[in-house]
Symmetry: C2
Subunit: 352 residues, 2 copies
C-alpha cells in the first residue's frame, strides 16, 4: 500500500488534515516503540491520526496489535527500512536539562572528531561575502537538530551558502540521499569539492550567486534546505525564499538562522508573515542556538564604527537562533526574482 | 529623561523602529555588563540601536564611556533600580548544552524546595475542566524561562488558568509587581488564595470562566500573560486572545503551551497566522519543553477509547512546547466574544 493511499484512508476516516510526512512520522515511531503512548510521543502527531494510521496498517497486515503492545511485522519493517529508507529517529536531546536543549556531544564521537579535523582547515571568513561562521560545536548542533527532526537521513538536501560547513557534518554522519551546496565563494567551493571527492560523499557543489535565480532543475526537488542568510528582508527572500521554492512540497522542511544582532523583532515579524503566507509553519524557534567565531575583519565593519569603545570582542557575542519551518502546501517562494546585492544589508545591519 | 523620550531620540537618529522594551533591554544589559559586545549580546537588540541608546544616555550624563568599557553612573543605576524597578536579567541557561536548553535547577534552591512542598498538596486534575498539569519541574522551567526573558520581575502578570501553579513559582522567586490569576476551578482558587494570604504574596485570584469576557479593568492592564489552553482554535482565542487584549501594548509578552498531541501543524499554522495578525511576533518556540503528569481520569478520555491497546501510560508521553510572543503594536485580541465551551475541544482533541 503506497504512502499516498494510507494518507487518503486516514484522512477519510478521521476527517482531519494530514500529509505523507504525518504518516511517515508515525511509521518512524513504530520502528522504535511498541507502547501506544510512546508511539504518540515519538510521532508528534495527534492521537486520532496515530490511532487511525495504526488501524489502517493493521488491516493491511503490517503490524500486530497485542495486549502488551504494537509490533511491526518483520516484512513491513523490511519494506519501511529498505524500500522506503525509513529509520527510527536518533535522540540528541540534552540529558542535563530534561531535553529542553540539544547536546551535539551525543553524536558519534568518530564523526565529531573527523568533522573537527576537516573544519580546522577551512578558509577564513572574509568580508566580501558578508561571511562569519558559527563555531564547529554550533554546526554540529544544527546538524544534530535537523537529524533528530527527520530532515537529514535519506533526504535530498539543499544548502544555500555553506561557510558553516553543515554539509560536511551531514555527509559524515547523516546518511543523506543527496546533498547539494550552492556557494558564491570559490575557496569554499574548492574546499567542499576536495572533501566530497576524497570521501566519496553524495555531495555536489555549485558556484552560484544567490542574488540570481537557482537553476530550474532545483525547483520542487529537495526535502530539506538549510541556510544562514544576511538579514535584510531582500536577503531573506533571496536565501529562504529560494529555499522554499526548491522544496518538494507538503512535509518538506527548511532551516535558517536569524539574529537579534542585525534583525529587530519588527523584522522578525515581517519574516514570520512571509513564511505564514508561503504555507510554512514555524515548528521551532530556539534563541541563542548558534554562537559565531569572531571574524578577522571586525575592525572593517559598521559594528566597529558604531562601537563606542574600540576594543575587539574577546569571546563570542554574535549569536543566532535556529528556526525550522515545515511546508503544509507547495510554496511559491522566489523563483525568477533577481536581487540587488546592495539590498542584502539594511539599516539594522552592522557586520559589513 | 523619561523612557519615551529616549525611544524618540534613538528612533529619530537611527531611523529604525523600536519601543520602550527595546531601550529597557539595553538598560538591563548596561546594569550587568561593561564591554560593548557583551552589552549587545545581553540586550538582544541590533547594534545601531544599542550604540545610539548608549550615546543618548552618555549625552544625558547617565554613563561614562571609557577606553576599557561603558559604566553607568551610580545615580543612574539607582534611578534604574529604585525608580524604574529594573534589575539585570538572571541566567538559567543549561550549562551542559551551551545554553540551548534551560535548567531550572539553577533557580535558588530554597525557592525550589518551597515550591515542591506547596505543589505536593495541590488539588488533583479532574476531567470537568480538561485539566492535566505539567510536572513541577516543567512549571519551574516555564517560570525560569519567562524570568530570564525579563517578563516576571517588576511586572504585572496575568495567569489565565493555573492548574500548573506557575503563579506560585512567580510569587516565590520572581519579585513580580502584581500577579492576577483567573481560574474556573474553585478548589484551585481556594488553594492559591490560601497560600497568597499565608505568604503575603501580591497575588489576587478570581473565580472566572474564560468562555466569558474578562472584567473591563483587565484590558491593557498587564505586562505579561501566561496560559496553557485547550487546543481548539476557539479555546486558543478564548485564552490567548483574551491574554493579548489584557496586555498593555508594544513590548508586552505572552506565553502559552501548544502540543503536537492535540494540535496538528495545520492548527499550528492557523494559530501563528492569528498571532501575526494581532501584531505579535513569535520569539520562542521550544518543542517538548513541558512534560505532563499522567492524569487519574485517563480511562475516561477519548485518547483511551482511541488507543488500540488499553494499557495506562507508565511514563510521561504528553508534552507541550513553550511559545513566547511579544507585541509590536496594541493587540485587539478577544474582548467581548463569548465562546461555547463545547467548541473548546475539536476533532484533533483526545484528553476529555
Amino acid at each position: 500500500m503506497p504512502m499516498e493511499q494510507i494518507v487518503e484512508r486516514v484522512a477519510e476516516r478521521t476527517g482531519l488534515p494530514l500529509n505523507t510526512r504525518t504518516v511517515e512520522r508515525v511509521l518512524r515511531a513504530l520502528l522504535a516503540h511498541h507502547d501506544f503512548w510512546e508511539i504518540v510521543d515519538a510521532a508528534d502527531e495527534v492521537v486520532p491520526i496515530v490511532a487511525e494510521t495504526i488501524r489502517v496498517l493493521d488491516e493491511q497486515g503490517w503490524l500486530r496489535v497485542e495486549p502488551h503492545g504494537i509490533f511491526l511485522r518483520e516484512s513491513a519493517r523490511e519494506t519501511l527500512e529498505r524500500e522506503w529508507g525509513l529509520r527510527p529517529l536518533p535522540d540528541f536531546r540534552c540529558l542535563a536539562c530534561e531535553g529542553r536543549g540539544l547536546d551535539p556531544r551525543r553524536l558519534p564521537s568518530e564523526g565529531i572528531e573527523t568533522f573537527m579535523t576537516i573544519q580546522a582547515e577551512r578558509p577564513r571568513a572574509i568580508i566580501d561575502y558578508d561571511q562569519g561562521y558559527i563555531t564547529p560545536e554550533s554546526t554540529l548542533a544544527r546538524f544534530a537538530f535537523a537529524f533528530m527532526r527527520g530532515d537529514i537521513q535519506g533526504r535530498r538536501i539543499l544548502v544555500l551558502g555553506d561557510d558553516d560547513l553543515v554539509s560536511v557534518a551531514v555527509c559524515l554522519m547523516g546518511e543523506p540521499r543527496e546533498v547539494v551546496v550552492v556557494e558564491i565563494d570559490r575557496r569554499l567551493v574548492e574546499f567542499l569539492k576536495y572533501w566530497a571527492d576524497r570521501m566519496g560523499w553524495p555531495l555536489t557543489v555549485y558556484s552560484l550567486d544567490l542574488s540570481q535565480p537557482l537553476p530550474a532543475s532545483f525547483l520542487r526537488a529537495f526535502d530539506t534546505f538549510l541556510t544562514d542568510p544576511p538579514e535584510s528582508m531582500a536577503a531573506f527572500r533571496a536565501f529562504v525564499g529560494r529555499g522554499l521554492a526548491a522544496l518538494r512540497g507538503p512535509g518538506s522542511a527548511g532551516y535558517f538562522g536569524l539574529t537579534r544582532r542585525e534583525a529587530s523583532l519588527f523584522k522578525w515579524h515581517q519574516v514570520q508573515r512571509y513564511l505564514i503566507e508561503q504555507g510554512a509553519v514555524l515548528t521551532d524557534v530556539v534563541q541563542n542556538f548558534h554562537a559565531y567565531v569572531n571574524w578577522d575583519y571586525a575592525p572593517k565593519t559598521r559594528a566597529w564604527r558604531l562601537a563606542p569603545v574600540k576594543s575587539l570582542p574577546d569571546k563570542p557575542w554574535y549569536r543566532s537562533s535556529l528556526c525550522r519551518v515545515e511546508l503544509l502546501t507547495e510554496a511559491v517562494g522566489e523563483v525568477d526574482t533577481v536581487f540587488d546585492v546592495h539590498t542584502f544589508n539594511d539599516a539594522e545591519a552592522s557586520t559589513t
